[in-house]
Symmetry: C2
C-alpha cells in the first residue's frame, strides 16, 4: 500500500523527536560539566536532524527491522555539530539557528575543545553500533571526516582567491556537504546489512542529494521569504561569498556586470542596500534559473539511484525526503 506524503512527514517527525530525546540525555551525566554542558547547548538547538534520519532510513531500506541504529544516527549528528562549532569560529559567526554561536556564548577555547569532544563522543557512539562491520563502517565515517576538513579548507581558500571556477566550487561542496550525507547513507546501508549494490546506490543518493541541498542553500540566500528564512536575505552577497549563483553570474556576465562582480571579490562583499541591484542582475543573467536547474539535475540523479530498493514505500520515502529538502524555505 502506498503512503501519502503526510505520512512520510510524520515518519520523519517521529524519528526526529526520538533523536532529539536521545541527544537531550546524551551528555547530561558526563563530566566535566564545563566540557559537556556547552556540548549539550549546541546539540539541543533544534535542527533538521537530516543526517541521523539518513542513517536510520538507509538501514531500513535495506531490510533492517530491529530497533534501529540510534547510536550511529546520533554519532553523525555529533560529527555534523563538531564541524558547525569549528566552522563558526573560522567564519567568526555570531548566530547559529537564531542563537549565539558556541564561541560567542562561551569563548573560542571552549568552542575548540567542545568541538573536539563532540567528535570523540561521535566515535564512541558509532562503535556501539558496529559489530562485524567495524572496519568498513568506521572507515566510511572517517572518510566523511577527512573530506569535510578538506572541503572546509577549500572553502577557506576560495575566500581569498581572486578566481574560482564552477568545477572547483562543485568539488568543494561535494567534500564539505555531500560527502557527509553520502557517508550517512552508506553507513546506514552497511549497518542494515545491505548488499554492495544497495550500499552504492544509497551512497549515490546521499551524495547527489547533498550537492542539490547545498546549491539550494545558495539559492535560498537570494530567493527566500525573509520571514520564513530566519535571517536576512542576501547575506552571502554582503559577505562576498563565492556561491554557485555568484560564480555562475561571473561566468556568464560581460562588460560592466563582470567588473561589478569582480569588485565584490575585491571589496569582500557589498552593502546591504545593494542587494536588490544584484538580485536583479542575477535574474537578468538567468543564474537563478540556472541554479534551480542544477538543483533539479542533482535531485534527479539522486532519485535515479533509488530503483534498486526493493520496497516501494522506501523509494517513495527517499523521493519525498528529496522533495521536502529541495522545497524547504530555510
Amino acid at each position: 500500500m502506498r503512503k501519502k506524503s503526510g505520512s512520510y512527514f510524520s515518519m520523519y517527525e517521529k524519528e526526529r523527536k526520538k533523536i532529539n530525546e536521545k541527544i537531550k540525555k546524551l551528555l547530561v551525566a558526563r563530566e566535566p560539566a564545563s566540557l559537556y554542558n556547552p556540548g549539550s547547548y549546541i546539540l539541543e538547538s533544534s535542527g533538521k536532524r537530516l543526517r541521523p534520519l539518513l542513517v536510520l532510513f538507509s538501514a531500513r531500506a535495506v531490510g533492517e527491522k530491529k530497533t534501529g541504529f540510534y547510536n550511529a544516527s546520533v554519532a553523525v549528528e555529533l560529527l555534523h555539530n563538531f564541524t558547525l562549532v569549528h566552522d563558526d569560529i573560522m567564519d567568526n559567526a555570531d548566530k547559529r539557528r537564531g542563537l549565539p554561536t558556541l564561541h560567542k556564548k562561551y569563548d573560542t577555547s571552549t568552542a575548540i575543545l567542545v568541538g573536539d569532544s563532540l567528535l570523540s563522543v561521535a566515535y564512541e557512539l558509532l562503535l556501539k553500533d558496529v559489530t562485524s562491520k567495524c572496519k568498513p563502517v568506521i572507515s566510511d565515517f572517517n572518510k566523511g571526516l577527512v573530506e569535510v576538513c578538506e572541503g572546509q579548507s577549500l572553502d577557506k581558500d576560495f575566500e581569498t582567491r581572486a578566481e574560482v571556477k564552477l568545477p572547483e566550487y562543485l568539488i568543494m561542496i561535494r567534500k564539505k556537504t555531500a560527502a557527509m550525507m553520502e557517508m550517512c547513507c552508506s553507513i546506514g546501508a552497511q549497518l542494515g546489512g545491505g548488499s554492495k549494490i544497495e550500499i552504492s546506490a544509497l551512497s549515490k543518493y546521499g551524495r547527489n542529494l547533498g550537492i542539490a541541498f547545498q546549491i539550494q542553500d545558495d539559492l535560498l540566500d537570494i530567493i527566500a521569504n525573509e520571514a520564513e528564512f530566519g535571517k536576512f536575505v542576501g547575506g552571502d552577497l554582503v559577505e562576498g561569498k563565492k556561491t554557485y549563483l555568484f560564480l555562475k553570474a561571473l561566468e556568464k556576465s560581460t562588460g560592466k556586470d563582470k567588473s561589478l562582480l569582480k569588485n565584490i571579490i575585491k571589496n569582500k562583499g557589498i552593502k546591504k542596500t545593494e542587494i536588490p541591484f544584484y538580485r536583479d542582475m542575477y535574474n537578468r543573467l538567468g543564474v537563478i534559473d540556472d541554479a534551480r536547474k542544477e538543483v533539479k539535475k542533482y535531485t534527479k540523479r539522486a532519485l535515479s539511484s533509488l530503483k534498486v530498493l526493493k520496497n516501494q514505500n522506501d523509494r517513495e520515502y527517499f523521493t519525498w525526503l528529496a522533495d521536502y529538502l529541495i522545497n524547504r524555505n530555510k
Copy 2:
C-alpha cells in the same frame, strides 16, 4: 643475552628515525596543500616520538615479529600533535619546540582545521593496521581521545579556580597525559596479539609512566639546566600554573608562605625576578623532593607491571625507557 643501555638507545633512535621518515612522506601528496602543508610543518618539528615507540615496542613485547605497526604508530603521533595544535591555541602559546606554534605561523582558523585534519588522518592510518581487532583497538584509541579532551577541560578549569586539590590534579594529568600513553601501550599490545594479562600489564605501564612523565615535566620547570632545557626555567611559576609542585607547596605551607602562594593564584603568576625566591621556598618546603619521590613511586608502579613479559630484553627495554624519560633534561 642481556643488552646494554646503549643498545636500547640505538633501538629507540633507529625506530624514531623510521617514524620521522614515514611522517615526512605522509602528507606530501595530499590536497589541498593549504591544509596538509601546515600539518607537515607541525609533524616534522622534531619530537621524542615517544608515543609511536610505545606502540611499536608494546607490539613486539607480546611477540609481534613482522614488519611492525607503523601506521598505528604514526596515528598516535598524529593524535598527539592534534592535541598540541589545539592546546597551543587555547594557551595562546607562541613557541613549540623552539618554533612558532601553528596558529602563530599561520592563523587560528588554519590551526583549528589542521588539528581536526590531523585527527582524521590518524584514524585513517589506524584503520590500515586493524584487521580482526578493529573494535577493541579503535575503541581504545578513541577512549584516549575522549580522555585527553576531558583532561584538557579540567586543566582549563583549574586555571581560573581558586582552589585545586592534589587528587584533582592527579585525575587531570591521568586524563590529559597518562591516558594517551596507556592507550599507546594498549593498542600496541592488542595489535601484536597479546594476551589479556599482557595488554593489561602494558596499559598499566603506560599509564603510570605517563603520570611519572608529567610530574617530571613539572619538576623540570624548576630544576632544569636552562641551557639544556631550551626555554627559561620557572615559566610555570611566571604563568601561575597549578603544577604538582605548586599545589604540594600550597598544601604544606602555612602563614606567610601560604598567603604568598595564594597571591600567585590571585595575580595569575609572578614576575621573572621572583623565580629564585619561590624556588628557595619550594626547597624549604621540601616539595622538590616530594615531586622526585612521586616520580619514583609512579615509575616503580610502571616497572612492577613488566614482570608478566616473557622476554628479559623486553622488560629491560621498558625499564631503560622509563629511566631515559625520567632522567631527561627537557
